[in-house]
């Protein structure tokens, strides 16, 4: 493990002799205060015993170290390098993507893990006095996976930021840290109120909430680490095919279907999950004319592998979503709606898909414009106007029928409006694309690299 230069460099920086001594001393002092005294934490725990208070305190310390401090460290693993102008130097190394990925993920957080594992050991020891070992073991694994999920997602978010190539040279790691915390919270939300009665095809098994939480947390933590590795490959200029992303989408859809089978409020979960991922990726991935030209150039040359190497993941997700919707109609899944709601689910989901197509076309058209720097923000403003302001205005003018044209509808006839809007915005994209092509032609003809505004 120490053979990984990136991990070793982090050890040099993070595990100084002073820190190695101070961390256990501070933790020992905290736990001694909890165990020996009448502290507030013991009262919060709702447990009269000192061991219960100690377990609660150790749990809080673990979460603070693994999620708050460790998540921040992971979020800054790349952004600090960019701030200090050392990232290009790292990209120039001969390290493989996996070595770089785990060297950064576990290296940047090694000191926080040092303290977190000490706290977790105290938690396991004190909790096992009141709970059976299998329960404590499960909780420890879930906690470890939550820490890893938070840190890996924070690092993943910072790598996604690099793909976006935003103009600012000082990315704010707090946002990436929040992404890590949000991943843990979202997963906890989907598993915590999990109903063990699975009602819908294809899942019929009865699953315990605890077991499901364990499997889901470990699985998502593993996917986050895989995501870090794949994005690191792209960042280090390795040619990468998106088949792992495709597998993740399948996993995500299956997971959402599983939840949908258990929770009535999650009927549209699979479609919503794919829609959300498509929107998110479309916003964070680069959408400049150069990348699209590279994509089309490879497509035109018949370079199938090369085409998939530069294919935006948002476009792949969009296609997978479309295929998923097609299967809905193929199997006429009219039951894709809460029982008794009277909603024709497939039409509603297809309507949502067409609206999403319109939104993505707006985003792309704005990014192909002359000043794409704020195109993403502008697109969000467009979406707010189209989804909120225009319908409100029409309603205030007593034109509720017209207002209905700007929101997803479950009637087949209601598909016409989003279809027309999607086609119009797609035409806008084509026009913008041709304009960009003409600009390059003019620049070449003028013998200058500057493409005229």
């Amino acid at each position: 493990m120490i053979g990984n230069p990136e991990f070793r460099r982090n050890l040099w920086l993070e595990l100084t002799p002073q820190r190695l001594v101070v961390m256990p001393l501070v933790l020992a002092a905290i736990f001694a205060v909890i165990y020996l005294g009448e502290s507030g934490v013991a009262k919060w725990s709702g447990d009269a015993t000192r061991y219960g208070g100690l377990a609660t305190a150790a749990l809080v310390v673990y979460l603070a170290l693994a999620l708050l401090w460790g998540g921040r460290q992971a979020a800054g693993a790349i952004t600090d390098e960019i701030r200090d102008r050392t990232w290009d130097g790292q990209r120039l190394s001969a390290l493989g993507s996996w070595s770089m990925a785990w060297g950064k993920l576990f290296g940047s957080t090694v000191f926080t893990w040092y303290g977190a594992l000490l706290a977790l050991a105290v938690y396991a020891a004190s909790a096992s006095i009141q709970a059976p070992p299998p329960t404590v073991t499960r909780e420890v694994i879930v906690l470890l996976a939550q820490g890893l999920l938070c840190q890996a997602t924070a690092l993943l978010a910072s790598l996604l930021y690099l793909r976006h190539k935003a103009p600012t040279r000082k990315p704010n790691a707090v946002l990436f840290h929040l992404a890590g915390l949000a991943a843990v919270a979202l997963l906890w939300w989907t598993t915590d109120s999990f109903d063990t009665r699975i009602r819908h095809w294809p899942f019929t098994a009865t699953v315990s909430r605890d077991g499901f939480e364990l499997v889901a947390t470990v699985a998502f933590a593993a996917w986050a680490v895989i995501g870090v590795w794949r994005l690191m490959r792209a960042e280090l200029q390795f040619r990468t095919l998106p088949w792992l992303w495709f597998l993740f989408l399948v996993f995500l859809a299956a997971y959402a279907s599983f939840i949908a089978g258990a929770r009535p409020d999650f009927y549209y979960g699979p479609a919503a999950a794919l829609f959300a991922v498509t929107y998110f990726l479309a916003l964070v991935e680069p959408k400049d004319v150069v990348g699209l030209r590279r994509l089309l150039r490879r497509a035109g040359a018949g370079q199938v592998r090369g085409f998939f190497e530069v294919l935006p993941l948002s476009l792949l997700t969009y296609v997978v979503t479309a295929l998923g919707l097609a299967s809905l109609f193929l199997f006429d899944r009219a039951d894709l709606a809460p029982p008794g709601s009277g909603v024709y689910g497939p039409a509603l989901v297809l309507s949502g898909f067409l609206f999403m197509s319109r939104d993505l076309a707006i985003l792309l058209a704005l990014n192909l414009g002359r000043n794409p720097r704020r195109a993403d923000v502008a697109a969000i403003v467009y979406w707010v106007v189209l989804y909120a302001l225009v319908p409100l205005l029409l309603r205030s003018l007593h034109q509720s029928d017209l207002a209905a044209l700007f929101r997803p509808d479950d009637r087949v006839s209601g598909l016409l409006s989003p279809l027309v809007q999607a086609l119009l915005t797609f035409a806008w994209v084509v026009w913008r694309w041709r304009s960009a092509g003409r600009a390059v032609g003019l620049a070449k003809a003028a013998g200058t690299g500057q493409i005229p505004a």
Binding site: R8, T86, D88, L236, V290, R293, R294, P372, K444, A453
Partner: protein
Amino acid sequence: MIRVEHLVFEYPGTRALDDVSFEIAPRTITALIGPNGAGKTTLLRCIAALDAPLAGSVVVAGLNVEDEPRECHRRLGFLADFYGLYDDLSVRRCLAYKAASHAVPRGEIDASVARAAERVQIADLLERRAGELSRGQRQRLAIAQAIVHKPEVLLLDEPASGLDPEARWSLSSLLTGLRDEGMTLIVSSHILAELEDYSTDVLILRDGKVVEHRALAGADAGADTVAIRVELVERDTKALARALEGFDGVVEAAIHGLTATVTLRGDRAAQHRLLRHLIEAGLEVSAFAEDRTRVEDVYLARMRGGAPEPERAE
């Protein structure tokens, strides 16, 4: 050693490199020059596999950089214009990390660190933290990091910025020494006089296009012939002409007053033999030096839109 073919690179709204093609021979030092925004840094980044071009290919030491970026990085060193150092690490650890991350075998890292530090004269600073170094010392550490793994190709973007005159002179001899050891270098700089000292070739970019790529005359450039400028204490045209005619290797000679410009075939040893021949012929030689084509002349001629001035040896 480096082959670039039809390279096209675009930023949104700007074509930074437009159908750039050239080839760089091994054991040369190429001065990469051009006005601001000409595409020099972009070109270096494409060669270093840091940025992927829209079209075209770059082959370094026989490796296509897009196909094998990491293997390419083993063989390549790059000093960026704006670089960073790990301020909290000692100089020794900075160099050890760079060596290890460029696949230098573990048993050879200490020796590699010592050698690189010695070459840039920071051997006495190995235990100091990088954050405590002066600007010039930091620059030398950055150069040491770029060469610690003994790359076959070294790319330097403004390597002399921050260096004092003495350190610049040291840099010049360092680069020449690296080339003598077999390294191939590309140096981008705005300080043309500095490039003059060690460059064997010049590559000029303007608006993302190569407008000039040529070897500078001189034995170092690896050209067949070299222009030599000879000056005498007293005018003795006939004796000088006789001596030159009788020397094997002189291709052409033009004598003007006390000065002769001689086109000589051969390497530095041939120059030494010619000087000895002239002195043994009884000529009072007061000056004897290569008459190189100056980087600045080539650059200014190109930037003014004309052809470079004719070489003085013609």
